[in-house]
Amino acid sequence: MAHGGGGSAMRDLIEDVFLSAFSGAGHAPPEDQARFDLSALMAHGDRLAFTTDGFVVDPLFFPGGDIGTLAVCGTVNDLAVGGARPVALSCAIIIEEGLSVETLRAVVASMAQAARAAGVSIATGDTKVVPRGACDKLFITTTGIGVVRAGLDVGIGRARAGDVVLVNGLLGDHGAAILNARGDLALDTEIKSDCAPLNGLIDTLIAAAPGIRMMRDATRGGIAAVVNELAEASAVGVKLDELSLPMRPEVMGFCEILGLDPLYLANEGKILAVVPADEAPAALAALRAHPLGQDAAIIGEITGERPGRVVMRTRFGGERIVDMLVGDQLPRIC
C-alpha cells in the first residue's frame, strides 16, 4: 500500500475496505462527522459517556483475536464499565507503507464483526498511510460514545468494607496469549486471548445487582492494577483469595515457567466488579448465566483493614501484599 494524503488511492481504500465492511452502520455517503439524534440517545439514559484509546499490539493477529477486535472491544468495554450503553465508535487508523491490503481487510473485517457483536456502529473514521518505520504496521485509535443509565452511579471510589469482589471469568488469557504469540517459546500450549465486548454481560450484571459499586475492565496491569487503584481510590483494604481466582492451568503453568505473576497479566474480556454483599449471589448467578461469564467467581472482599492495601491469602494459607509495580518486574529478592 502506498502512502499519500487523501489522493485517489486512499479514496479507493476507504471505499473498498471500510464502507463495505461497515455498511451495516448505514452512514454512507461519508460526511466529515457522524450526527446523532439526541432524543433517541436520551431514551437510554441521562448522561453521555465518552472515551478514547489507542491500540498497538505485536503481533497484529494472535490466537483469539487481532488488533481490530481489540480496538472495538477495548473502547466498548471502557464505556460499558462506566454503566453506559455504547452507541457508536469512531476509528482512526495509521498504516505503515507496505502493509498488505489483505491484512488491512482482515483487520477491518474483525472490527466490523466485533462492532456487530457489541451492537455499536462505527460511525466515522480516518485513515493515514505513513512511510516505512514511521509506525509499526498498523495503529488504531477508537473513540466511543455511550449513554449512562439514569440513576446508576458506579465509580472506583465507591467500594465499602463488606463489599464483594467478582470477576467474570478466567484471568490472564490475553496477556499470556500475546506473549506466547510473539515468538517461539517452545511451549506446546495455545492460549487464546479472551478479547470480547462485555456490554451485554454488563447489562445482565447491572440488572441483577442494581447497587453495584464499580466495574473496571482488567486490561493492562491485570487485576492487580485494578484492585490497587480501587483500594486507593475507595480508601479500603482489598483481600483476595488465591484459591478462588479463576485461571486456566495452562496460564498458571505458563506464568510459572516465565516467572510472571498472573495477577499482572492483561485481559481483554474480563471485568472486575464490586457489589454489596447482599447482591453478590445474584450478581454471580447473572454472570455465570451469560456466555462470557461462565467461569465467573467471587475472588475477594473489601475490608476496613489496611486502607489502600491489597492482600492476598495464598494457596498455602499465608498472606502476601499485591502491589502496583513501578519498575519492569525487576527482581526484588536480594
Binding site: 498472606e319 525487576l330 526484588r332
Partner: protein, 767 residues
C-alpha cells in the same frame, strides 16, 4: 588540688548509663568507698557530685569504668572541681522536664536471679518472671518514655509491699528495676489446650507434654516460640510437617553443659552464648550429637541458644532435654507476639500453649550470629541487641538526622542522630502484610521513642521495594528530601562506618558479594568491586552478568541460573551433549528459558555472587529444584566444603570490558565439568569454588587498591555470611598487605542495609 588531699568533683559519665542500674551502682560504690555527694540522670549522661580524698576519688572514677553494670557502656568520664556537698550520698530523682533517653535491650537472666529461682527458700523460687536491674525484659515491654513502669507492659501489675520495698531501696539489686515482680504481684503462667489445666504447675505440665513428644507454643520475651523435644525424631518431623517447613534448620535451646555435648564450642563462642543478648549462635555440630536428624538436615552447623528468661531455665530444667525453639509463625510469616494471633495462627501447628499475661510490646525475633574470621558476626539483629545505638565515625557528628528505610527482605530501618545510628530490630520481609504493619509501627515507634525528626529519607535505588515506596510516601508527607543509595554501595559503606572509617579518610576498595540489588545502570548487580567513599561509588570490576530467566523465579530455582551460566560458559550445544547435564535438566523447560533469554522476556541481566553459589550447588546436586528458604543452596555448599578446605582454587578469567574489569567464571565452569566427569569428591569441588571466588575477588581488589593508591578494603553483602568465603577472602587481602573492614554488629545481609544507606545519606548532606 594537691595530691592526697581531700576535694570535691563533678564527674560526668557518658554512654549507655540510663535504665541499666547505673545510679544504684554509683550509690553502692560511693557507699563502699565512703564518699559524700549525689548522683542524677541528665540527658544522655549521669552526673555525680562526690567528695573525698583524691586517691579515693581516683579509685572511684576507675571503678566507674571497670565495675559498671553489665548493661552499661561507659564511653567517657570527665571530672572537674566542684563545691563540697552535704555529708552522705544520695540518688536524686529525675525531675520533670529531664529528657530520659536510652531504651536498653532485653537482657538474659543474670546469675543472681538464676540462683534465686533455684533456691527453695527464696520468695521467687521457680518464679518465671524474676528479674533485676542487671537482667530481664526491657525493649520488649517498653511502650513509651521515660522508661519507667507505667510506660511498660508491666503497668497493669501493681507492686506488692515486698517488691515495692526492694524497688525503693538503693542498696537492693532491684532498686528501680521497672519490671520487678514476684509470685504475689507479677505475671502468671498457664497452659491452654491439651486436656485439663494444671494451674498449680504450668511449667511441670508443659514439660510433661514436651517429654511426651507434643508440640507447644511458648510465649516468650519478644514473641512466641514453637517448642518440642529436640531429641525426639517424631516430634521434630511432625513440627516440620505442620509448619510446612521441610528443610530450613531449626534453632535449639539448651543449657551450656548440654550444648557442649551437641556442638564444638570455643571459648569465644562460649562468651558469645553467655553474652546478655543470648543470641542463636551457629555452632559446628558434633558427630553423633544426640539430636533428632531432622533438626538441621544436611547442615554441619546447629543454631543454638542458651535459655535467656527464668521461664526458659525452668522449662529446660524440668524437661531435661534440649528443646527446639523455632519462631512461632506460619511458614514464611513473621513471628507472632500477640496472644490472640497465636491462638488463631498456631492452632493447627501446636498441641498446647504455655501462656503468660505480661503483654509483649513489640515483636523481637531472636538475634542470630556466628563466629567467622575471628569474631562473632550478627546475621539477624533482634532481641538483646536492638536498640543499642551504634557509634558512627567521629566526623559524622554534624550530620543531619536521617531515616533510612532498608531493603525488601530481612528489613530493618535505621535512624541517625549526630554520631549515633540506631539500627532497628529485624522487621522481616516486606511482601508480608504483617511485616508491613510491623514496619509502620516500628517507624512510628523508633521515631517517637528516640524523639527523632528526620531531615532526609534514604531509600534503595529499587523503585519497587516496599521500603522505597514507603520512604517516598513519608518524605512526601513531611516535605523531606529523598536520597537514593545504590544497594551495594550501602552494604560497603555500612562495613566502613561500623569499623570507624572516617569521612576524612577518603575512599576504600569495596567488595560486595550479594544476592541481587539494582545497579546504577538499570541492570541487577551482586558481585562487584567498588571504589567508594561515603558519598559516591564507582564500579571497578564485576562478575560477568547472566540472564535471570524468570526474574525472582531464578532466585528460587537454582537450575535456571545453572543453565544460564553453562550456556554462557560452554554454549548450549555442550550442555545438550553432556549426559550428566542432560539428566540434570531432564524435564526442565530449557528451550523456553533460552527463548525468553533470546527475546529478553523477563530475563534481566544480573551479576550476582549469590546466584553463582546457587548454580554451583545445583551442578553438584546440593540444591533442590526449588529452594524452600533463602540461602539454602549456599549453606549446603558451604557445609560440604568446610570438610575439604585447602584444595587449590578454581580459576576465573579477568579482562577489561567497558571500563570495568570483567571477572569471567567460564574457566570455573570448565574446571567444574572436568572434575565432575573425573568423579572428584563434591566436598573438594565446593572448597575449590569457595577459594577460587575468594582468590579472584581478593586479587582484583588488590589490583584496584594499587591502581587507586588505597590500602583498605571493606567487604559486605549477604554472601559474606559464609564463614569459609569470608575467612579465605580476608586472609588473602591481608596477605596483599591490605587492611580489611568486615561488618560484625551490623548484619552483612540486607538486615544491615539501612545502616549503610543512612551513613551514605548523612555524608552526602554534610557539605
Amino acid at each position: 588540688m594537691p595530691n592526697g588531699k581531700g576535694g570535691a568533683e563533678q564527674i560526668e559519665v557518658c554512654g549507655i548509663v540510663q535504665g541499666v542500674g547505673f545510679r544504684p551502682f554509683v550509690y553502692r560504690l560511693a557507699a563502699r568507698l565512703g564518699l559524700d555527694g549525689d548522683v542524677r540522670n541528665a540527658g544522655d549522661r549521669v552526673i555525680i557530685h562526690a567528695s573525698g580524698p583524691r586517691a579515693v576519688l581516683d579509685a572511684f572514677a576507675a571503678a566507674l569504668l571497670a565495675e559498671a553494670p553489665v548493661l552499661a557502656r561507659v564511653e567517657a568520664i570527665t571530672r572537674r572541681p566542684a563545691a563540697v556537698p552535704e555529708p552522705g550520698f544520695r540518688i536524686i530523682e529525675s525531675g520533670a522536664g529531664t529528657v530520659s533517653v536510652g531504651v536498653v535491650p532485653d537482657v538474659a537472666t543474670c546469675p543472681a536471679c538464676r540462683a534465686e529461682i533455684a533456691d527453695p527458700a527464696a520468695r521467687r523460687h521457680r518464679y518465671a518472671f524474676t528479674n533485676c536491674t542487671d537482667c530481664g525484659p526491657r525493649f520488649s515491654i517498653v511502650t513509651g518514655l521515660p522508661y519507667d513502669r507505667p510506660a511498660t507492659t508491666m503497668a497493669g501489675f501493681a507492686m506488692c509491699p515486698a517488691c515495692r520495698a526492694e524497688y525503693e531501696d538503693p542498696a537492693d539489686r532491684r532498686f528501680h528495676a521497672q519490671p520487678i515482680a514476684c509470685p504475689d504481684c507479677g505475671p502468671r503462667l498457664w497452659v491452654e489446650g491439651a486436656g485439663a489445666p494444671a494451674e498449680a504447675n504450668p511449667i511441670g505440665h508443659a514439660a510433661a507434654l514436651l517429654r511426651a513428644g507434643r508440640i507447644l507454643a511458648v510465649k516468650g520475651l519478644g514473641g512466641f516460640h514453637i517448642a518440642c523435644d529436640a531429641t525426639c525424631e517424631t516430634a521434630v518431623a511432625e513440627l516440620r510437617a505442620r509448619k510446612h517447613r521441610p528443610t530450613k534448620p531449626l534453632a535449639v535451646m539448651a543449657d551450656l553443659a548440654t550444648a557442649h555435648g551437641l556442638c564444638t564450642i570455643s571459648a569465644d563462642e562460649d562468651a558469645a552464648l553467655l553474652h546478655p543478648s543470648a543470641p542463636i549462635l551457629l555452632l559446628p555440630l558434633k558427630q553423633g550429637a544426640p539430636l533428632a536428624s531432622g533438626i538441621a538436615p544436611g547442615q554441619h552447623h546447629l543454631g543454638l541458644m542458651l535459655p535467656y528468661t527464668p521461664l526458659h531455665h525452668l522449662l529446660l530444667a524440668e524437661t531435661g532435654r534440649p528443646l527446639v525453639m523455632t519462631s512461632g509463625n506460619r511458614s514464611g510469616e513473621p513471628q507472632i507476639f500477640r496472644d490472640d494471633a497465636a491462638r488463631d495462627g498456631l492452632a493447627g501447628i501446636v498441641d498446647a500453649f504455655l501462656m503468660h499475661d505480661r503483654p509483649i510490646a513489640r515483636r523481637l525475633d531472636d538475634s542470630v550470629a556466628r563466629t567467622a574470621a575471628g569474631a562473632p558476626r550478627v546475621m539477624r539483629r533482634g532481641r538483646g541487641l536492638a536498640p543499642v545505638p551504634l557509634p558512627l565515625p567521629q566526623d559524622f557528628a554534624g550530620a543531619p538526622p536521617v531515616l533510612a528505610m532498608g531493603g525488601e527482605l530481612k528489613n530493618a530501618l535505621c535512624l541517625t542522630h549526630g554520631s549515633k545510628a540506631l539500627l532497628s530490630h529485624h522487621l522481616g520481609d516486606l511482601d508480608e502484610p504483617a511485616t508491613g504493619d510491623a514496619y509502620e509501627i516500628a517507624l512510628a515507634d523508633y521515631t517517637a521513642l528516640f524523639t527523632h525528626r528526620p531531615q532526609v529519607v534514604a531509600v534503595d535505588l529499587h523503585p519497587d521495594y516496599r521500603a522505597t515506596r514507603l520512604g517516598e510516601a513519608v518524605a512526601l508527607a513531611r516535605g523531606l528530601v529523598v536520597e537514593r543509595v545504590q544497594h551495594h554501595h550501602a552494604h560497603v559503606a555500612g562495613a566502613m562506618a561500623e569499623n570507624g572509617w572516617r569521612r576524612a579518610n577518603g575512599p576504600v576498595v569495596g567488595i560486595a558479594l550479594d544476592g541481587l540489588g539494582l545497579g546504577e545502570d538499570g541492570t541487577v548487580w551482586g558481585a562487584e568491586v567498588l571504589v567508594c567513599d561515603y558519598r559516591t561509588s564507582r564500579r571497578a570490576a564485576r562478575l560477568s552478568p547472566i540472564p535471570l530467566a524468570g526474574g525472582d523465579a531464578a532466585s528460587r530455582e537454582p537450575w535456571r541460573v545453572l543453565l544460564a551460566h553453562l550456556d554462557r560458559a560452554l554454549g548450549p550445544a555442550a550442555v545438550a551433549g553432556d549426559p550428566h547435564l542432560a539428566s540434570l535438566f531432564a524435564g526442565k523447560p530449557v528451550a523456553t528459558l533460552r527463548a525468553m533469554v533470546g527475546r529478553g522476556l523477563n530475563a534481566p541481566s544480573a551479576s550476582s555472587a549469590g546466584r553463582l553459589f546457587d548454580a554451583v550447588a545445583a551442578l553438584l546436586r546440593l540444591a533442590p529444584d526449588r529452594l524452600s528458604h533463602e540461602g539454602e543452596a549456599a549453606m549446603a555448599l558451604e557445609a560440604v566444603a568446610v570438610t575439604e578446605a585447602g584444595t587449590p582454587p578454581y580459576p576465573f578469567a579477568l579482562r577489561p570490558e567497558a571500563g570495568l574489569t570483567e571477572i569471567d567464571p567460564a574457566p570455573l565452569w570448565q574446571a567444574l565439568m572436568q572434575d565432575l566427569h573425573a568423579g572428584r569428591n563434591r566436598g573438594a569441588m565446593a572448597a575449590a569454588f569457595h577459594t577460587g571466588l575468594a582468590d579472584v575477588f581478593a586479587t582484583v581488589a588488590a589490583h584496584t587498591a594499587t591502581a587507586e593508591g588505597l590500602a583498605t578494603v571493606a567487604v559486605s553483602g549477604g554472601v559474606f555470611q559464609n564463614a569459609l568465603l569470608l575467612e579465605e577472602t580476608a586472609r588473602r587481602l591481608r596477605r596483599h598487605g591490605l587492611t580489611v573492614l568486615v561488618p560484625a554488629q551490623v548484619p552483612a545481609n540486607d538486615g544491615g542495609l539501612a545502616f549503610g544507606q543512612a551513613v551514605v545519606t548523612a555524608a552526602r548532606h554534610m557539605g
